[in-house]
Amino acid sequence: MQNTTELNNKPKRFIYDFNPEETEITMQTKDLEIYYGKNLAMHNADLKFKKNTITALIGPSGSGKSTFLRSLNRMNDGIATVKGEILYQGVNINQPKIDVYEVRRRIGMVFQRPNPFAKSIYDNVTFALQRRGVHDKKTLDRVVETTLKQAAVWDQVKDSLNKSALSLSGGQAQRVCIARALAVQPDVLLLDEPASALDPVSTQQLETTLRELKKDYTIIIVTHNMQQAARLSDYTVFFNMGEAIEYNKTRKVFTRPKVQMTDDYVSGNFG
């Protein structure tokens, strides 16, 4: 609290304290404006996401985290109007010519509530592949094993792959959902509060899993849990009222924020 005055002299928004090489950027947003009907839900959010890192999106409820995340793989199609550029490896995917299904395959998504399909665990994981014409049993078996191992549930479910996925516990189900997303070989993984429905133990396991996955994927995760963001992520974006307020290395955001608002939020004095 003693350095309030100093913080107040800083700019109201602060984006980046790092300048990755072009080749290191997996995703980038430019001049993004997202509208629900006539309501502007997100603007001022020119962000870059670095390859093989975990970026946490934090901010109060209603600040637009989910809105932002969902536009990264065009899940807002038909729900919100998204203006501006969303670059995926340099290609603007926010244009009508782009095949949204291929985009979503490459930029996978895991949701807040575990949502296994009413199918067996095996089919949950392989379903999207089968729809894309992969029917070779050996390939599918291999994918199931690899992805479930990546998602760190293999040991728990390997003997019951034909069991309905609806019978799994929340934590197991969420990790099967991660495996399901990995099965189509994306390179970006978007997660919207993936641990909010899980108990502490499952949450911890999930974090370990994500830390492992970072080696192969670019991960962007929305979380309400400050500790989680601090523990898990390399970079953190703080959103408020539909704007990206501060974007920096996680350590800096949590220890030496450059904007007063961020400081208030991460120290719990917000509102």
Binding site: Y101, R104, F117, N162, L166, S167, C177
Partner: protein, 296 residues
């Protein structure tokens, strides 16, 4: 106790009496049908053909016709109802077109079944020249069945959590794939209950059939399952009086000496079949659900 309290007590007692009376009516109906009817139901009754002038006839052919028509009508109406329900629940946006479609489905569902039957008569029997036949009957029953089946399926689809749809879309699947392969399977318990419930209604329907499937049940050759032969049970172009139509027909103009026995027996069989449909609708739906979520 003051006046208003007394009044309240009295009124509530009256309500109890009314509710009791309604239960009595049903008890009487069911009791009457089964007590007068079931003694006339025997294996012979269920498995022998009807007789127009002599005693001792059964309802075998009518029973067979009822089930055959039901199955055909369901086979035809299911894909249509499913498609319509999918569009209404998953694609339709709030505009005049959707409103028009919803209104026309409401109109169809409240149309008297005689009117549906007469339309079927005009279109299938006369215009398409299918005559009084299984085919005309099944197509007419389809029209009769569509609105309710569509609404049932629509409700079951609406009960599936949006998370499931998001999950499918998030994997890069199309909306339609998501619906067909994820949402529909997830709503299967509800859809199956809906189908069985609609089956009960179709099974008991007569007014839509008397001028489409006809009012006669010619003898069938149960050794011949080639649908192209006219006396094959599967032949779609033969006239086919159903059990429900049979009850109406013999009560209106039947002259067999055991008329009362035959009609009460038929009514008992019909109600029993519908009871089974209604009870199994809940049961089967629940079983399918358990099966889907079970720890096998």
């Amino acid at each position: 106790m003051n006046r208003t309290q007394k009044q309240s007590r009295f009124a509530i007692a009256c309500l109890k009496a009314v509710a009791g009376f309604v239960v009595l009516i049903l008890a009487f109906l069911i009791g009457y049908i089964f007590i007068t009817g079931l003694p006339n139901v025997s294996w012979h009754f269920l498995t022998s053909p009807a007789k127009a002038f002599n005693a001792g006839g059964g309802i075998w052919i009518q029973l067979f016709n009822s089930f055959y028509l039901l199955v055909l009508a369901m086979i035809i109406s299911l894909p249509i109802a499913l498609g319509a329900a999918i569009y209404l629940n998953e694609y339709a946006t709030d505009n005049w077109f959707t409103a028009a479609i919803k209104t026309s489905i409401e109109i169809l569902s409240s149309l008297p079944s005689v009117v549906v039957g007469l339309f079927g008569f005009l279109l299938f029997v006369v215009q398409f020249n299918y005559g009084f036949s299984i085919l005309s009957g099944a197509l007419t029953l389809t029209i009769f069945n569509l609105p309710l089946l569509t609404r049932n399926i629509e409700d079951s689809l609406a009960n599936v959590s949006d998370d499931q749809r998001q999950g499918g879309l998030g994997l890069g699947l199309s909306k339609y794939e998501t619906i067909i392969h994820i949402v529909v399977p997830a709503s299967l318990p509800g859809i199956i209950s809906g189908i069985i419930l609609c089956s009960g209604r179709v099974f008991g329907e007569a007014a839509a059939l008397i001028y489409t499937a006809g009012q006669s049940a010619p003898a069938l050759n149960f050794m011949d399952w080639n649908p192209f032969n006219i006396d094959s049970p599967l032949s779609p172009l033969r006239p086919a009086e159903t059990l429900a139509v049979h009850i109406w027909k013999i009560n209106s103009e039947g002259i067999m000496p055991d008329l009362t026995q035959v009609s009460s027996g038929s009514a008992a069989v019909l109600v029993l079949a519908i009871l089974i449909f209604n009870l199994s609708a809940r049961f089967v739906g629940r079983k399918v659900f358990e099966r889907m979520t079970s720890v096998k």
